[in-house]
């Protein structure tokens, strides 16, 4: 499968493999990391960001692509809608059918609320399904939520909101127990001890996994539970605008059938945005490991309704996206590959960094290797470095790869690459939205009755997220949003519905002199793979 220069470089990697496997590279100092990030991390490229001129974060900067969507027109701008006869009338409206949405729906249902889940594709079509490596929780005797707190706070550059991070780490063991009681199959030793590993930036082995299908295993179980509870769910239906009541509280959403474009109205006492991330906006032209529907819709809906963003200028580039073959360009190669012992190796066969630095540092280090240092491998469509997977079998014994990372084995085998025998080429891929809508500890935004959970939240992780803390946050904050939104619904009487905030936002756009044909939320990306017939349009 590999060709030319790759093969020659691969020989060097193989020649050094035994020595590289035993070699323990040092970790970078705090200063070294700072300089590396400032020079090579995409978040530090000032020209790739824009200052917002309207909305609650006016004056703040966000990626250029996001700025265009946040300051675009509403899809209901010129549509007349009868809000007085809603098609759905519920206690809690959950927007998004991923892990956070499903967890919220289950808990709201458990609390006795009448719940409706809407999702623009199928239930479970979400980044949760694609999370491979694992979920963190400090449940081993040598670990504690306090140690977890320090790992995450430092890894996130001391920017996490303390109340949110406290909740994340302190509720983590309970989240694992909840999942386990629902039937999620975690990797365990015969005596029931969880099989746990390190992730980048962890100081204790607290990564729980279900092989390398951790997110898929969680998602399919939660989806099954939503179905068992017969919670009403409307799929292929996107929320395209929030609705407020006369008291300015969130009170529903305008929905659009993705296939027929039919518009409907959902009235709700409380609303939970669980719409996930933004990888499909391809910031700075990066490929992405994200789901097809990851287009930051919830950020747009929330922002237009007056909800504040936090850290929307920080993105996570997963250090190891597949760089070759081109059919899987940008696909996630789980961090667990490094947790199990594979190291990053350059074109000369040299280990150039500790394999378990935090993700932002690792990504920046790979970009440096492939740019200024000139030690990247030519993949035919760009550069990459080696992730020396055969080291896993050297370290853990034959069969470790098939047992612990079967999805990775399968993904590359489809293209004739046996990762037990050959290394793979990787390069950073757009993976996670560190920022999002700002919430308080109860999950509510500054807009009353509007809750957010999952990747659409900003502030839980600060300016960088550790591996395994995202599967954790969708469960912890999804559950909590569900419970709190159900409780709040009990004390809420919805007033007359309106879309005044949409009209007001349009006025603000005009006043700021913004002229654009763009409408948002984006809902889906469009790909034409270089077809000249469509590229011109």
């Amino acid at each position: 499968m590999y060709q030319n220069e790759m093969l020659r470089s691969m020989e060097k990697v193989a020649a050094n493999r035994a020595a590289n496997t035993d070699f323990e590279p040092r970790r970078m100092t705090a200063d070294e990391k700072e300089t590396l990030l400032a020079t090579y991390h995409p978040d530090y490229k000032a020209e790739e960001f824009r200052v917002l001129t309207v909305g609650p974060n006016k004056g703040g900067k966000v990626p250029t692509e996001l700025s265009a969507l946040l300051q675009a027109h509403s899809r209901v701008k010129d549509v007349s809608l009868d809000l007085s006869h809603p098609d759905y009338d519920v206690d809690v409206l959950v927007i998004g059918g991923g892990g956070a949405g499903a967890a919220a729906a289950i808990e709201a249902n458990e609390a006795g609320a009448n719940v409706l889940v809407v999702t623009k594709l199928r239930m479970g079509d979400a980044n949760t399904m694609m999370a491979e490596g694992g979920i963190q929780a400090a449940d081993k005797p040598n670990d504690s939520p306090a140690i977890h707190y320090v790992d995450a706070f430092g890894g996130g550059h001391y920017a996490a909101i303390p109340e949110l991070l406290y909740k994340l780490v302190n509720d983590a063991p309970g989240a694992i127990k909840w999942l386990s009681d629902l039937g999620v199959e975690f990797d365990k030793a015969p005596d029931g001890t969880m099989v746990t590993t390190h992730g980048g930036g962890t100081s204790r082995k607290r990564m729980h996994a279900a092989k390398d299908y951790s997110g898929a295993e969680i998602m399919r179980t939660l989806r099954d539970e939503v179905l068992n509870r017969q919670i009403p769910m409307v799929d292929f239906t996107a929320a395209i605008e929030l609705i407020k009541d006369e008291n300015g509280r969130a009170a529903g959403a305008v929905l659009m059938n993705m296939e027929t474009d039919e518009l409907t109205v959902a009235r709700a006492k409380t609303v939970i945005i669980a719409t996930g991330g933004a990888g499909r906006l391809h910031y700075q032209g990066f490929p992405t490991s994200n789901h097809y529907g990851a287009t930051a819709d919830g950020l747009v809906l929330g922002y237009r309704a007056g909800a504040e963003l936090l850290y929307a200028d920080t993105l996570q580039y997963h250090p190891t996206g597949a760089a070759y073959p081109e059919q899987i360009f940008g696909a996630l190669v789980t961090e667990k590959v490094r947790s199990l012992g594979a190291k990053l190796v350059n074109a000369e066969g040299e280990v150039f960094m500790h394999p378990l630095e935090t993700r932002d540092v690792s990504a920046a280090s790979i970009i440096r290797e492939c740019s200024d240092r000139g030690k990247g491998v030519d993949t035919g469509s760009g550069k990459g470095v080696w992730l020396d997977t055969p080291m896993i079998e050297l370290k853990g014994g034959e069969g470790t790869i098939e047992k612990r990372i079967p999805a990775m084995l399968r993904m590359f085998m489809k293209y004739g690459i046996d990762i037990r025998k050959e290394p793979i080429l990787v390069y950073p891929t757009l993976h996670y939205q560190n920022g999002g809508l700002r919430i308080r500890a109860d999950g509510q935004t500054n807009v009353e009755n509007l809750y957010v959970a999952g990747e659409a939240v900003g502030g839980i992780h600060g300016r960088n997220r550790l591996m395994g803390n995202s599967l954790l946050d969708i469960i912890v904050f999804g559950r909590s949003a569900g419970k709190n939104a159900a409780a709040k619904a009990k004390e809420t009487t919805v007033g007359a519905l309106n879309l005044d905030h949409v009209a007001a936002f349009e006025k603000e756009l005009a006043a700021a002199g913004i002229e654009t044909d763009l409408v948002s939320p984006k809902l889906l990306p469009t790909y034409t793979h270089g077809n000249p017939k469509f590229e011109a349009k």
Binding site: G154, T193, A216
Partner: protein
Amino acid sequence: MNDNFVSIYLFGKKYDVPGNLTVMGAMEYAGYQLKRGCGCRNGFCGACATIYRVKGDRELKVCLACQTKVENDMYIATLPFFPLIKEVYDINKVPVNEQVMMQLYPEIYACVGCNACTKACTQGLNVMQYIAYAQRGDFEKCAEESFDCVMCGVCSSRCPAGISHPQVALLARRINGKYLAPACGHLEDRVKEIENGTFEDLLQDLMGKPVSELKELYNNREIEK
């Protein structure tokens, strides 16, 4: 036509597309804006189950459109939805033996052993075998054998007995995860400690510390080997 192009037939209609694209990429190149039949685009969600036949070949093949490169003369039909039977149950009340299968999915006992499901699996799983394990209530083995299932439903589309294999396997895995897998003592202990507020003071103390102190803690923390 460019040498690197191939001809494919989407629902019978011919398109010339670059030969390095996946089936999903080729549909997009042809001008489709996908709504159905496209999900994670990474082989985990099962949204893009596809059946195809290469001209001149009798064999009906299956794949995930996002994980498969196009070939010349491929006749392609996507299977974006298949009506699987999903029975509703209460995970806290299910019998932990084959009775549950007899109650919820009795059709698995009508399996005729044709093995069409296994031949059709886009993940290369031994589907008929895991159904056999489910029949006899061996949920642990059923769970292990079916673990990599992405629930695309192609197996069920080929089954003469009308079995919804992915749903049977999911039930077996949930029962295995909840009841049959060994209980985790250290997890139970930690959850109790948290309920008792064991770490409360430590955490409150950390939350109140200035960043400079937390930096010290972080940069000098001991890392488990």
